[in-house]
Amino acid sequence: MRAAGDTILPLALQDVWYNVDGVNLLKAINLAFTAGVRTAVIGPNGAGKSLLMRIMHGLIKPSQGTVEWQGQAADGRHKSLAARQAMVFQRPVMLRRSVAANIEYALKLIGVASAERRERTEEILDKTGLRRLASSPARVLSGGEQQRLALARVWARNPEVLFLDEPTANLDPAATHRVEEIVSAIHAGGTRLIMTTHDLGQARRMADDVIFMHRGRVFEHRDTEAFFAGPENDLAQAFVRGELLWWRKGEGTGGRRQPRHEKYRS
């Protein structure tokens, strides 16, 4: 789909920290993302998954460290960067206009001419099964339909990298299945996927490698199969077993500071 060399990948995070009022929400993150594969970021609430996605997407600047797109197409041209990578939020904002107009709006912002906008919108409406809803107001769609529209808006832009923050949270199995189908189709078109999920089954189904996070740190980054066969990190082991994770004194693999409190915070 894209010419060789015309890429913004790999994405590299070096010693990324993020703190608010002296509280470190992300700590010493070092990650690299190359083209092709699908990555799932898993971990309990408050692990910093969504924050990490926002930092990689460019919505939030890290307090310390660097987030760098290193491909040839990423040489400081910010405008092109914004158009080449996209994000679907856990609660996507539906603009108060029709389904088709929502898709066209996303295309207009990256400078797609109006004839091509309509063409691409038509194509995406078919691909996402939103055709019969094309002229419905986006705000009256069901949760599953809204999530499909959110995917349609970014798919129309054909991004090189797509960040998905809990794409199927609060969806029933049928709606989850349709969303996963669309996400797989986007990947099949050559888009690099990085998603967060609470659903370990989804991580197994949809990811080639898994990043396990807890309390602002990355503890493990391995192939999905190897990870689920037996995580090396004891917190990850407990998480995969379905145990509730919170801090207890002396827990976890070494090299971390002791927790300051033991209280469970939801």
Partner: protein, 233 residues
């Protein structure tokens, strides 16, 4: 009490028989106030939205100022416009004092802060909800401005209505810059004031009934249109 019921009966009769003088006064009132609302909307929507979206020095001062100016006393606005437009004033050469144009200018000054302040609030609330999504799409404040005005259209209609309510109800500004000249600058509010001071309560009350009816009809119409439109958006 009989005075009142007599006056009321006479007022109903006056409205029912509908003479040309009455029509002229109502027509001028609507022309002045609607033109002022139109101008205030043209200025107030973008200004209010810009104050909500752009970060610049003095932004919060401007926001406070806009809110404070929502309560500008009409007579003070009238006085300022009077001074500006009077023969000796900076815009005296245009000879606008005691014309409907002067009244439109005064009412525009009076209600633009209302439209702008309410727009700022509405757009600011909407931006809180939309910011992350729009920035993710690649839209900065400049691209977000028209988007938010459109997506906030139902709240903004209320802002515009508030401006219309203020313009059509005020008497101080149009009295000072218009002068309440018969067949030239006489509007509903100024003639009500005049007729009351003359003791002609029937005419005053009749005009009052018309004024309230117009406000009701416009608000009901906008409410109904807004609801129908909101259901389909």
């Amino acid at each position: 009490m009989t005075d009142f019921s007599d006056a009321f009966a006479a007022a109903i009769d006056l409205v029912a028989t509908w003479d040309d003088d009455l029509a002229e006064i109502i027509g001028l009132s609507l022309r002045v106030s609607l033109t002022a609302v139109f101008a205030a909307t043209l200025i107030g929507l973008p200004v209010g939205a810009a104050v909500a979206l752009f970060r610049f020095p003095g932004r919060s001062v401007l926001a406070v100022l806009l809110n404070a100016m929502m309560g500008l006393p009409p007579v003070v606005v009238g006085l300022i416009v009077y001074l500006l437009l009077s023969r000796a004033g900076p815009f005296g050469v245009f000879g606008l004092l005691f014309t409907p144009t002067a009244m439109i200018i005064a009412q525009t000054l009076l209600i633009t802060p209302i439209v702008a302040a309410l727009t700022r609030q509405a757009v600011s609330d909407l931006w809180a909800e939309y910011e992350e999504q729009l920035r993710s799409f690649g839209a900065g404040p400049a691209a977000a401005l028209p988007t938010l005005l459109w997506d906030g259209r139902f709240n903004l209609i209320t802002a515009i209505l508030a401006g219309f309510g203020r313009a059509s109800a005020e008497v101080g500004a149009v009295m000072i810059v218009g002068g309440n000249i018969d067949h030239v600058t006489r509007v509903m509010t100024t003639s009500i004031a005049l007729e009351v001071s003359k003791g002609d309560l029937a005419l005053a009350l009749g005009l009052g009934i018309v004024l309230i009816t117009i406000a009701l009809v416009i608000n009901a119409g906008v409410f109904w249109i807004g609801r129908v439109a909101e259901e389909s958006a």
